[in-house]
Symmetry: C2
Subunit: 287 residues, 2 copies
């Protein structure tokens, strides 16, 4: 049981976490803090948090679990603000989509990495954002990846793990670097491509008509382009090395496909399309 959970940034992820823990009777009190008082008021009105605390230092004092759920570009400032107020036995985690940058931010802000700090990332979310979109079941059967640092204590890791398991998530651990590479491939690159494609079409002369003729496949393909631009800006900037690596690989593969189309190389096209279909059907079975 968590006595006092402080959530910094009560949006889709922070709000859904609070809802899940409350509905599972896994927390006594949820304190919400954020730079945006209106968001907090909505979270309070919705019953997602029990109490608003605008001052970050006061918000984290006396909390036994602190979850930082702000865009990754805001992590360092938040860490620096709360550093003087953390209890010695407080457990601190985050939900950022990039882990190298978050760990580096913590190192800068705290001087050395706290034993109570366990970086984390729930692989869940929708293209929606904000506390209004939050719901208790968001993490059910979804993965949460923890990337403990060399300083993370075993006790802190097990408390963060226990919290996420209460939401119905499947918790796994991996290294910071490996997390960032895998997520660059499965999440960051797809978002970049979706934003890029929609923008390419949106800047064409006959964009009105183009979108009118877009069918079901286009809606699904571009759904993630409705995601929060600031959050994805932060992710791209903060996972630059891993993202550029997989982007370069993808662009090289796309170039080969372009050549194959230009040269009428049916064998190559059929090989790629068939391999992709088999992989996609295999890994997304049962949807």
């Amino acid at each position: 049981m968590i006595n006092r959970l402080t959530i910094i940034g009560v949006g889709l992820i922070g709000g859904s976490l609070a809802r899940a823990l409350k509905s599972g009777d896994a927390v006594k009190e949820v304190v919400g803090t954020s730079r945006d008082a209106r968001h907090l008021q909505r979270a309070l009105d919705l019953g997602v948090i029990d109490r608003i605390e605008m001052d970050l230092g006061t918000a984290v004092s006396g909390a036994d679990m602190i979850v930082v759920a702000v865009p990754v570009g805001a992590m360092e400032d938040v860490f620096a603000e709360i550093a003087p107020y953390l209890s010695a036995d407080a457990v601190l985690t985050d939900v950022g989509s990039t882990k190298t940058s978050v760990v580096e931010a913590a190192r800068v802000a705290f001087g050395e990495l706290p034993a109570g700090f366990v970086p984390g990332h729930p692989i869940a979310g929708t293209e929606k954002s904000g506390v209004e979109a939050s719901f208790a079941e968001l993490f059910k059967q979804r993965r949460v990846i923890l990337t403990p640092t060399e300083a993370s204590s075993a006790g802190a890791v097990s408390k963060v793990r226990a919290m996420w398991e209460k939401t119905g998530a499947i918790v796994t651990e991996t290294s910071v670097t490996h997390h960032d590479e895998v997520l660059a491939a499965t999440s960051h690159l797809p978002h970049l491509l979706a934003f890029a494609l929609v923008d390419t079409l949106a800047t064409m002369d006959d964009k009105q008509e183009i979108f009118e003729y877009a069918a079901g496949g286009f809606r699904d393909f571009t759904r993630i382009a409705s995601s929060d631009p600031l959050m994805w800006h932060d992710i791209c900037v903060h996972n630059e090395p891993a993202l550029l690596k997989i982007l370069n690989r993808f662009e090289a593969d796309l170039d080969r496909l372009r050549e194959a189309i230009a040269k009428n190389d049916s064998d190559y096209l059929l090989q790629v399309f068939s391999r992709a279909k088999v992989a996609r059907d295999q890994f997304c079975e049962g949807e």
Copy 2:
């Protein structure tokens, strides 16, 4: 009312058209023909067609409406086979995703474009294929684009239009060239990108783990990579000029995004992501 409708290629599209017209009492008899006798037998067992006719010439003789629903790469052969058997007043249409190539195939096969030939394209479908996946409601509220040729008679156009309207579709007309450019942007390029991305990931060393960490956004983004590889091979090859044109434009835009990430150009990234989100939200409202 159509007296005898002959569908050449009874898959998702041909099968759904037959189901829709039957359920709307808009056709007396549906004859199915295909190179694959097993597909036809399934279509007959499912009640999608009333009669199997393996011989193409016999299948189209006496039909007042003929719908060619084969991959675009097979159109020319089909047209050549049926050419000698078409009744003078028969109406012929197709459902191919590329129109320039289909009109060219008709020109070659028929010598000159028949007055009864009205090229068409229902903007509907799923990543599934085959008659088992067909359903009567597939075209409801979806667009069907007709691209009449200079030879198409007004009577033939209005019969094809009436047929599609019976399925609940919204029928519009445009030029062959414009159709191919718009569809390259909204359909062919997205499919190419989805196939390319899944294949890039599927050929990586840790592909097993990569797909395990893929979340909801990835499933939606890659759904169209489960589409039929042969059909999409045909589309890429047969809409080469328009597809390469939009692919080049997209790659140039993606290159600019890559540079912006590498240079930490936040303004540019935020501008593109925000413009894409606005466009996507605006054009896909109400989903």
